[in-house]
Amino acid sequence: MGSSNSTLSKIPNVDDLMQETGFTPAHIVRLYDRFQALDKDKKGHLSPQDFGSIKELALNPIGDRIIGAFFASGQETVDFHSFVRILAHFRPIDKNRPRDPNVPEPINSRTSKLRFAFQLYDQDKDGKISRAELLQVLRAMLEMQVTEEQLESIADRTIQEADLDGDSAISFDEFRKSLEKVNIDHKMSIRFLR
């Protein structure tokens, strides 16, 4: 298509992007349009306020964490590449991918998806979900409808269940293990990004 080609040509390094994330040109164009729509001041990059203007996101209990995930540590802006890279996590898994140990995991593999989710829990980036971090998430999700004691009981029980090495925190491997029965492909994929 003429218009999509022209859009594609506007984006720098679009081929690398497609290679890295596995998106088709149609996807890239669509995401680019969305990026433009969010970027109201036409700065060429997104800031937290742009995300904040999505009103459903404000209602989301973990909305601010999601927004935070887009911004790499220390940065204040998100360019299109990072935007697409983050969203690439939510592509459905390619089942027919050859398991080549030399090739790094694609962004939308099961492990990468889980790692992304794990990082949303683990805000201080120490590689573990501590009790306090879990409590924060629970508090956000349960939206003040329960008492502190209940939250603490739940948090304790959760850690108890998942914690295998006894450090009262959930590491990435424990996190992954506790979700081994859940169909992550289904739960962390958005259909249209296929």
């Binding site: 996101l57 949303l120 998430v137 999700m141 349960l142 004691e149 996190f175 289904h186 739960k187 958005i190």
Partner: protein, 809 residues
């Protein structure tokens, strides 16, 4: 011990009692088949009896009777009046027969593992029908009214009420495709090709016209929920396949209804115009959406009603049943899809009703539904067998064989074709194995038969031929496909149902991921599945729950409910296994301030530090006492069943236990009494727990006493009076509200010892357990017994105590 002279079948039976039962079954069998025909001769018997009575009394009453008009008969001491109770008697007999048959099958071990129950029941029906015919009577045919109004609704309600909503909504697109498009394809394929075959010369079927064929096709094409349920229940395949086939069987009702009525109307006329087809499409939409709407309305009504039933818990299940049945009947009045109405009603009302009703009502609903649906299913299959024998058949080799083949071919082609299209839209694709199971699981059943039976003989002269073909297809699918599906599932290594329950980790993380995906969808600007689900949830939480759920429960988030369910399950398991043996938080055993153990490493999930002998004793005592508790609580009089405030107190207890564990963790070393007391006060402060009004802050001694009497915390002290016996205080009828619980607690804190109250089992705390404030401990013990009461709904009132014999289980 079976002797060697017994036949081979009986050799499989393990004991004489089972043989006896089977003999009884055979007897009932014969009695059931013979007796109804025998009813015809009852009036004669009655007369004969009275005459006999008259003759007998004649000598003594001669003189006075001669004076009056000699119409006075002697008073019949015993008379036989079967006619009076004939109908209910026969119905009961059939139901009894069905249930005994069901019982019998499971006594023959090998049989029930090879042959699915539905097959066996049809065979029984055939035998019974044969027997009746041999006796000379006309066996009853499955009356369509009886089927659609009495036998089908319980099964559908059971299915709808317990429909797993999550997998259903996740796959609703696929299910609808199979149900609507698949059934249409089946109907037209079978009907059309059958007409083509009928036109071939030499088959003697030239008189069957196109519309009749299409009608037949529409009857035979619908996958039957009863048959699917009956067979799939036993093979335990994974959730996805189960919901696909089952959901399809439920939702194709609308299509079947419309097609059936359409062709039936116009078969007489002989042609169908475009207008009629359009009207048919509109009718389909009306039938399905109307049915769902009717069901939803009744479901909301039921949920709303259940909000106010807190004072009349006994009739709660009734509302569920009656509203659902009304939904079905109301839909049937307008020829809407009754099945979809029933499903919608059950699915809509369930979350709200379950939040409102008591635990016992929930159990009642569950078991009644299962019971009714089970009996219905059994009766349907038996009647199917009987009707086969009873009906007039016209066997036409070509027609029947072609029908069977076409049904199979149509099903396979339909599934494969549709899956190809559907997989383009699915994230989790359907594999070939899945497709095979879906195709193979398309069983036909009694609905097809009943629809065929409804056909007017005059309008459709080929009705009998149709019926024969329908029955053949049903037999084929149920017997051949039903029997072979289990070995095929094993052969193909199809994934089976996950037996393990969800962990709380999975629950939390799944919710988290839901929120995450909703957020990402919002960022992408894509209004997908999650977006709408989230919107619906929000709407539900904000408006609907407030209306339909009573009291504070409306605010309870799903996670909390889940967590509580888990805790309750674990606590019950804990108590049943003899108390405190395997607490996952491996912490030091006693909290007695004098017996501080160093904190053990977590990996060493240890048992409490008491000697083996003591542990055994404790376990035995706990077990026997708890069993008595359970038995006692089961036997209740419906008039004294009071409201169960203590149900929620149970939650409190569990949370307190959690706290105790936590505290044990934290108390690593001996603390000063003051420090520990303040810590206790802080930790055990209970603010709003769900529906239980705020309990007064427990006094530290009370909580410590409670702790001390916790079986886990048991220190090894000799002496029988130190062993705990759990007291379950029977609820006195005058304390229905939980506020009294709290008041009692605070009241008692200041009182001295009281003499033992009415009955039940007593948990006495060994006075030296904590080593401090023994008097207060004993008070504490009395108080904490009140909490231990909440093992279940309060049982009988105190004066029913003499009813100590265990409830028959």
């Amino acid at each position: 011990m079976p002797s060697r002279t017994l036949p081979r079948v009986a050799a499989g039976l393990r004991s004489a009692s089972e043989r006896g039962l089977l003999a009884l079954l055979m007897l009932m069998f014969l009695a059931g088949s013979v007796l109804p025909p025998g009813a015809a001769s009852s009036p004669d018997l009655a007369n004969r009896n009275s005459k006999a009575g008259h003759d007998h009394c004649q000598p003594s009453q001669e003189l006075p009777e001669d004076r009056h008009n000699a119409t006075k008969k002697a008073f019949p001491v015993l008379s036989f009046d079967y006619h009076h109770v004939q109908k209910p008697f026969e119905i009961s007999l059939w139901v009894l027969l069905a249930s005994l048959m069901k019982l019998g099958f499971h006594l023959i071990p090998r049989l029930s593992s090879i042959v699915p129950e539905s097959c066996l029941l049809i065979v029984v029906g055939l035998l019974v029908g044969g027997l009746i015919k041999v006796v000379g009577e006309k066996p009853p045919v499955l009356d369509s009214d009886l089927f659609f109004l009495c036998l089908l609704p319980p099964i559908i309600l059971d299915a709808g009420y317990f429909l797993p909503i999550r997998p259903f909504t996740e796959n609703v697109g696929t299910i609808l495709m199979f149900a609507v498009v698949g059934t249409l394809w089946n109907a037209f394929f079978v009907g059309g090709l059958l007409y083509g075959v009928c036109q071939i010369r030499g088959t003697d079927l030239g008189h069957v016209d196109l519309l009749a064929c299409l009608l037949f096709g529409s009857i035979i094409s619908a996958v039957d929920p009863v048959a699917v349920l009956a067979v799939f229940e036993e093979i335990h395949i994974n959730e996805l396949l189960h919901i696909l086939v089952f959901g399809e069987s439920l939702l194709n009702d609308a299509v079947t209804v419309v097609l059936y009525h359409l062709f039936e109307e116009y078969a007489g006329v002989g042609s169908v115009s475009m207008v009629d087809v359009c009207l048919g499409v509109i009718s389909f939409l009306v039938v399905s959406i109307g049915g769902i709407l009717v069901g939803t309305i009744y479901g909301i009504l039921a949920a709303f009603t259940s909000r106010f039933t807190s004072h009349t818990r006994v009739i709660e299940p009734l509302f569920v049943f009656v509203y659902s049945y009304m939904a079905y009947l109301s839909a049937e009045v307008f020829h809407l899809s009754g099945i979809m109405a029933l499903i919608a009603c059950g699915a809509v009302m369930r979350p709200y009703v379950e939040a409102n009703i008591s635990h016992k009502s929930h159990t009642t609903i569950k078991y009644f539904l299962k019971m009714w649906s089970s009996v219905s299913e059994t009766l349907i299959f038996i009647f199917l067998g009987v009707s086969t024998v009873a009906g007039e058949h016209r066997w036409n080799w070509t027609f029947v064989i072609v029908t069977v083949i076409l049904c199979l071919v149509a099903r396979v082609l339909g599934v494969v074709g549709l899956t190809y299209i559907i997989n383009k839209f699915r994230i989790v694709k359907l594999t070939t194995k899945d497709q095979f199971i879906v195709a193979y699981g398309g069983l036909r059943g009694a609905i097809a038969f009943s629809l065929g039976y409804l056909l007017n003989e005059v309008q459709f002269p080929t009705r009998n031929m149709f019926l024969t073909a329908i029955i053949t297809v049903i037999f084929f699918t149920v017997f051949v496909q039903g029997m072979t599906i289990r070995p095929l599932v094993d052969l193909l290594a199809v994934k089976k149902k996950q037996e393990t329950k969800r962990s709380i980790n999975e629950e939390i993380h799944t919710q988290f991921l839901d929120h995450l995906l909703t957020g990402i969808e919002d960022i992408c600007g894509h209004y997908g599945h999650h977006h709408w689900k989230d919107k619906l949830n929000r709407f539900n939480k904000k408006y609907v729950k407030k209306c339909l759920i009573a009291g504070e429960r409306s605010k309870e988030p799903q996670l909390i409910a889940f967590y509580h369910k888990m805790e309750m399950k674990q606590a019950i398991e804990l108590v049943e296994s003899g108390g405190g043996v395997k607490m996952p938080s491996a912490m030091p055993s006693t909290v007695s301030m004098q017996n501080i153990q160093p904190k053990k490493p977590v990996s060493d999930r240890v048992l409490p530090q008491i000697s083996k002998g003591r542990e055994e004793e404790i376990r035995k005592i706990l077990r026997t006492n708890l069993q008595r508790t359970r038995q006692r609580l089961r036997s209740y009089n419906r008039h004294t069943l009071v409201a169960d405030p203590y149900e929620d107190g149970w939650n409190e207890l569990l949370l307190k236990r959690q706290k105790i564990i936590e505290l044990e963790k934290k108390v690593g070393s001996f603390e000063t009494p003051a420090a520990s007391r303040s810590r206790w006060a802080e930790m055990t402060k209970m603010s709003n727990y769900l529906t239980v009004p705020a309990a007064a802050p427990d006094s530290p001694t009370m909580s410590r006493a409670r702790l001390a009497s916790d079986p886990q915390a048991y220190s090894s002290k000799p002496g029988s009076d130190n062993l705990p016996t759990i007291k379950v205080d029977l609820a006195s009828p005058q304390s229905p509200d939980s506020v009294n619980l709290v008041d009692e607690l605070s009241k008692r804190a200041g009182q001295g010892e009281e003499p033992d109250e009415d009955g039940g089992l007593v948990m006495k705390v060994p006075s030296s357990a904590s080593g401090k404030d023994t008097k207060e401990d004993q008070n504490g013990a009395k108080d904490q017994q009140r909490l231990m009461r909440c093992l279940s709904d309060p049982g009988p009132s105190a004066d029913e105590e003499e009813e100590d014999e265990p409830f028959l289980h």
